[in-house]
């Protein structure tokens, strides 16, 4: 019924189109995936995810065990326990909730548990603020989680399905964080094309385990009394370093696994995203690089500027961890000027977190663009099309001068 005769794609059938805000898109996708355990604590702007999902549980629409925990630390701890026992586990949080999970985020990744977590990105306290910026996810940057960033509710829905296959990929086995901008996405209703339940179920299939050689011989990496293993034992000077190298390798392999899973998802849904999404960059002279919903606004500005003859373009980073260095270098190598948008500050650092990575990616390259850094939108401040147009004008000036005078420009702040 949903098949496209020619391509075999599940096309954009209007019967599968739903009006969903970002949080609802998460909850609906996770309902279709139906993980064994969801342990979550509500926090603005992620609350709707937890509310909707607990409704699904209360109405008997999913068999998932919903664990009502007393904190985010316990939420992620419950997910770690569930995944260690071989279950599938999902959680969701934002800002201070993610900060409270911080300790456990490192444990989830080092034990190689492919938990999926949605983060409705919100500014960290203090002073307390409930609106969007990226300080929460950037604070968890080095925790060993794969990070996917979404531009709209459609991408959120798709990421919440793909994430399981990425994290559980036998070459990867890492937790996945799906980032959606608080309020801008989490509370804004959009048309979302969904997939039928059975198609989602077939795609995510059952969780795959890797084989490990424990003290009693080969076993799957999960707790099973039949083939016991010890997870999370004391790991001293003589072994800890080696275990970190295994996580480095898993991230490297994720760079290959993500496009592979994505291609399979695209064949099914007609929607693929890969690691980065370049838009109008082929002949571009001025390119903006960034994360999340701002890139939707930026693509509107790029189109407006193109109408005026400005050779503008953009690159949306969909996967921030692992960082898609090679794709980015290949795409931006011949661009004269690049402006990197950061929606977070690393206090005392020469650049914002995304810009530092872009610059590092280019340090060993002979051909590289001039790279400017715009920090914007902190604490939910709106980044309007005119602000982004202003950034492109700054890039024009930088191009004509041939150098970047100011390491960071703060856009939209009162002087």
């Amino acid at each position: 019924m949903y098949e496209d005769g020619e391509k075999g794609l599940i096309v954009t059938d209007e019967r599968l189109m739903m009006g969903l805000n970002g949080d609802e898109a998460v909850a609906y996708a996770i309902k279709q995936v139906e993980p064994d355990v969801v342990a979550a604590y509500p926090i603005t702007p992620q609350t709707i995810i937890v509310e909707r999902f607990s409704e699904y549980v209360a109405n008997g629409l999913v068999k998932t065990d919903f664990v009502s925990v007393e904190s985010e630390h316990s939420a992620l701890s419950s997910c770690i326990g569930a995944e260690a026992a071989g279950a599938r586990a999902f959680t969701a949080t934002a800002a201070n909730g993610l900060a409270l999970m911080w300790e456990m985020t490192f444990i989830a990744s080092s034990l190689r548990l492919p938990i999926v977590m949605a983060v409705a990105n919100r500014a960290l306290s203090g002073p307390i603020n409930i609106h969007n910026d990226h300080s929460d996810a950037m604070g968890a940057r080095d925790s060993g989680w794969i990070q996917i960033w979404c531009e709209n509710s459609q991408e959120v829905y798709d990421a919440c399905i793909e994430a399981w296959r990425i994290g559980e990929h036998t070459n990867v086995q890492l937790p996945v964080m799906i980032n959606l901008d608080g309020f801008t996405l989490s509370h804004t209703m959009e048309n979302v094309f969904t997939l039928p339940d059975d198609v989602v179920k077939n795609f995510v299939r059952d969780r795959r385990f890797i084989k490990v050689k424990g003290h009693l011989g080969e076993s799957e990496l999960r707790l099973d009394p039949g083939t016991p293993i010890t997870m999370g034992p004391f790991d001293l000077q003589d072994f800890y370093f080696e275990h970190k190298l295994q996580q480095v390798e898993a991230m490297r392999r994720a760079l290959e696994a993500i496009p592979e899973v994505d291609a399979e998802y695209e064949a099914l849904s007609g929607r693929g995203y890969r690691l980065i999404h370049p838009y109008m960059v082929d002949d571009a002279e001025l390119v903006i690089v960034g994360l999340g919903s701002t890139m939707g606004t930026a693509s509107y500005v790029v189109e407006k500027l193109r109408e005026k003859g400005v050779k503008a373009g953009l690159v949306k980073i969909r996967v921030f961890r692992p960082f898609p260095k090679d794709e980015l270098v290949k795409t931006l190598r011949s661009i004269p000027v690049v402006g990197v948008l950061d929606r977070a500050i690393s206090f005392g650092a020469p650049n914002g977190p995304l810009c530092e990575e872009v610059k590092t990616a280019f340090y060993e390259e002979k051909d590289r663009p001039l790279i400017a850094n715009f920090i914007h939108g902190l604490g939910g401040r709106d980044t309007s099309p005119s602000m982004i147009e202003g950034m492109f004008h700054r890039l024009m000036k930088i191009k004509s001068r041939g150098r970047v005078d100011q390491l960071i420009e703060y856009v939209g702040v009162r002087e």
């Binding site: 890797i210 490990v212 050689k213 293993i229 999370g232 034992p233 072994f239 080696e242 275990h243």
Partner: protein, 92 residues
């Protein structure tokens, strides 16, 4: 600790142990170990239950004995023995 340890590519992922705890002999940690005076022992087995390392075994005759491959010399068994038939002695 002169054993050859594997490189990170050979080690099991997920930081799980590839050796059993029985392979880690901790008996050389302490400077003292407990001795049992079997003349006075009442076979109550409290030393067996209290030992945090499981290094006090129960023999088939009902008496307990110290497995010195694993005893760390903490002295809890001596402290808990109700008939005071155990004492810590210096290793020589």
């Amino acid at each position: 600790m002169t054993e050859d340890k594997p490189g990170w590519r050979e080690m099991p992922e997920g930081a799980i142990s590839y050796k059993c705890t029985l392979d880690y002999e901790t008996g050389d940690w302490g400077v003292e170990y407990p001795e049992i005076d079997y003349e006075r022992c009442s076979k109550c087995m409290l030393c067996h239950f209290y030992c945090p390392e499981g290094a006090v075994r129960v023999r088939s005759d009902g008496y307990t004995e110290i497995d010195r491959r694993y005893c760390k010399g903490c002295g809890i068994c001596v402290e808990e023995c109700p008939v005071k038939c155990m004492k810590m002695v210096r290793k020589v």
